[in-house]
């Protein structure tokens, strides 16, 4: 008996699939890959993609700026400007590839590390920092860029995404939803329930799991005994594993999954096989649970370096491009730094704001007491 998921690799639209790529290694599930770590373009029978040189440079720019933003945020945390930061280092391709596959009218439900996806959705990166600085618990209007608030409770948002997708179906619209979560979240009941609901209602949702190998200190083996992408088969929709450090493969696979969703073919589970090169958050110490050799192994698969090699190999970008991007990165970092440092603490009465849309007598009463209490100090001072 085989438990291997083949649904995602079935030929679609009457087109016969070509010969499958040989598996990466004995017992290892096949990854969809379009760009080797050396920057060489390869074809996959199910995921053909046509990308212009300009688009390639755009993807490179997105990844470089996102990494720079992320590095700046980490620095700001070290300097005491942020209370915490969850770095995406190493996951740029998974996020930019999938994020660039979305359309403006699609809706994205992130976890708390999707800074690259936020970038693709047009969210100003400085908006992401308010929560980590401690000036708010969210901080942006989700409907402005169809990018929902970060969700800290692992996997909760998979259900919100599914419900939103059910609403799209009800509206007769052809947009779709992407729910992001990590390998650890696949152990949560909410993710399992989201799979059930999405399958039963054929919801236009793409579950995009960034398997970065570690849920804080716990390796993927502590979450599952089968490759994660195979989970989908049990729910009745396709699961596919993509090289999460290959921006083109992530773009192509997510695009195909979104197309399935738009055309009424229901959900897809995408497992982006990648690696969190840094710590879980700035509070974490990965040296306690993983070896340097592992990181070095993955550094060789660096998503940004990989595309740079390709651009250089094919002569698609010149020194001028890279220099200009370097300058743009510096400018972004400078803006982020300045914006964060200028971010004021909220007014103290913000504690009582926006708890209820229609008001609540107890909140009103406690707000008044709080204001009176604070004012009592002002009276003291003026005496």
């Amino acid at each position: 008996m085989t438990v291997d998921s083949t649904a995602a690799r079935k030929p679609r639209g009457g087109k016969r699939a070509g010969a499958k790529k040989p598996a990466a290694g004995a017992g290892e599930p096949e990854l969809v890959q379009l760009l080797t770590p050396e920057g060489e373009r390869v074809e996959h029978p199910d995921y053909a993609i046509d990308v212009t040189p300009e688009e390639l440079r755009g993807l490179y720019r997105d990844m470089v700026l996102t990494r720079r933003f992320d590095a700046e945020a980490t620095t700001l945390q070290r300097q005491g400007e942020l209370g915490l930061w969850a770095s995406l280092l190493g996951q740029e391709a998974a996020q930019i590839g999938s994020g660039r596959a979305t359309r403006d009218d699609d809706y994205v439900f992130p976890t708390y590390r999707e800074h690259g996806v936020a970038w693709c959705r047009g969210v100003d990166p400085t908006n992401l920092l308010g929560m980590f600085r401690g000036v708010n618990n969210g901080g942006w209007d989700p409907n402005e860029n169809n990018f929902h608030l970060y969700t800290i409770v692992i996997g909760s948002q998979a259900l919100h995404a599914t419900g939103y997708a059910m609403g799209i179906t009800k509206d007769g619209a052809d947009s779709a939803v992407v729910a992001y979560f990590g390998d650890g979240a696949t152990s949560q009941g909410d993710v399992a329930e989201a799979f059930t609901f999405a399958a039963v209602y054929n919801a236009p949702v793409v579950f995009f799991c960034q398997n970065n190998q570690w849920a804080i200190s716990e390796p993927t083996e502590k979450q599952t005994r089968v490759p994660l992408y195979r989970r989908a088969q049990g729910y009745g929709f396709p699961g596919v594993r993509v090289d999460g450090n290959d921006v083109l493969a992530c773009l192509a696979v997510t695009r195909a999954a979104l197309e399935r969703a738009r055309t009424g073919q229901g959900p897809t589970f995408v497992e982006a096989f990648t690696y969190r090169m840094g710590a879980h958050t700035t509070s974490d110490d990965p040296t306690r649970y993983r070896r340097d050799e592992e990181r070095e192994l993955w550094e060789a698969k660096d998503p940004i370096l990989r595309l740079r090699r390709h651009l250089e190999r094919e002569g698609l970008a010149d020194d001028e491009f890279f220099a200009a991007l370097e300058a743009e990165s510096d400018a972004l970092a400078k803006r982020v730094r300045e914006t964060v440092r200028a971010m004021p603490d909220p007014e103290s009465t913000a504690i009582f704001e926006n708890i209820y849309a229609d008001g609540h007598a107890l909140v009103d009463e406690e707000r008044e007491q709080f204001i009176a209490y604070q004012a009592s100090f002002a009276d003291e001072e003026s005496k």
Partner: protein, 326 residues
């Protein structure tokens, strides 16, 4: 005027029907709410008339029901979800507390969460465990939620209308032991505000405060006390978050004695909150400490013992005696 004598079940059914008719964004979802019409028949006939797209039989997954309702609300829908029984809400408790309650605040007020969670609650129906609990305090403790509980058919109809129209999440606790009590419902009346208490019996000697299933018990206790020459006031709280403390205060300032009655365990219950606040507000008016009558700090017992566990006439009257003895 469209006045009808309805049971609470029929009043909720009529209210859902009205909401489905008036607003295409209203959807009803839950386990068995469609073809079966709900295990209590509260949603009877709704799927037949509004279709599977508006009255949705869901998978048996409470977190999934509330979690997807949140997503639907983000898409502009107004879901009314049914949790089949009180004790089954806990798989959804995480979604209600960490997500539903906080979404509006986290988005700095930019998005709204018009989700109603209907929960048949309370005991005295001879059920097995997890089917008779009163978890309202566990929700009242959470900012961002509103909690109401009707005690009669008219409130059942109107409070649900108002809950559905609210842009805030509302937990709507249905007194399941009173489901078949019938009373007048005027579906064209102009209802009072959702979160105000109502005096259901005027009196001078002591105030009984209750909500949901215990309102009737307190009215019966007041009637029994009247035979002994005691004139008790009964207040139906109607809303548990927020609580209409002004109404309780006004009553206690007149009667000078207060007994709070609910089915939920007394320890850390809504009665504790009312006792503390009223003691603060009415310290110099009170002739006796505020007393509470409710469940014990024990799991809801097997049904053969529930009459001992639940506040009945005798326990309410005993508390009245103690309060009046000061």
């Amino acid at each position: 005027m469209a006045t009808e004598k309805l049971s609470i079940v029929k009043a909720i059914n009529a209210s859902l029907r009205t909401a489905l008719e008036n607003d295409p964004k209203v959807i009803v979802m839950g386990e068995d709410v469609g073809k079966l019409g709900g295990v209590f028949r509260v949603t009877d006939g709704l799927q037949k008339d509004f279709g599977e797209d508006r009255v949705i039989d869901t998978p048996l997954a409470e977190s999934g029901i509330v979690g997807t309702a949140i997503g639907l609300a983000l898409r502009g829908y107004r879901p009314v979800v049914e949790i089949q029984f009180d004790g089954f809400v806990f798989p959804a408790y995480d979604q209600i507390v960490t997500q539903l309650a906080k979404m509006h605040a986290r988005a700095l007020g930019k998005i709204k969460m018009p989700v109603v969670v209907r929960i048949p609650y309370g005991g005295a129906i001879g059920a097995v465990e997890h089917h008779s609990e009163s978890p309202e305090s566990l929700f009242a403790h959470v900012a961002g939620l509103k909690i109401v509980s009707p005690a009669n058919a008219s409130d059942a109809y109107w409070m649900l209308q108002q809950a559905i129209q609210s842009d805030d999440p509302v937990i709507y606790f249905e007194p399941k032991r009173r489901y078949h009590d019938r009373s007048e419902v005027d579906t064209e009346a102009i209802p009072g505000p959702l979160h105000t208490a109502r005096t259901v019996r005027q009196g001078t000697d002591l105030t009984l405060v209750a909500y949901g299933p215990m309102v009737k018990t307190c009215l019966e206790a007041a009637a029994a006390a009247a035979e002994e020459g005691r004139n008790l006031e009964v207040l139906d709280l109607r809303s548990i978050s927020p609580i209409d403390f002004d109404a309780v205060q006004a009553s206690v300032e007149r009667t000078r004695r207060l007994v709070v009655v609910h089915e939920a365990p007394v320890f850390f219950g809504s009665g504790a909150e009312i006792a503390a606040r009223i003691t603060e507000r009415c310290f110099y008016h009170l002739e006796a400490p505020v007393l509470r009558v409710g469940g014990y700090h024990a799991p809801y017992p097997p049904s053969r013992l529930e009459d001992e566990y639940l506040p009945g006439l005798d326990r309410v009257l005993d508390a009245v005696d103690r309060a009046l003895a000061y």
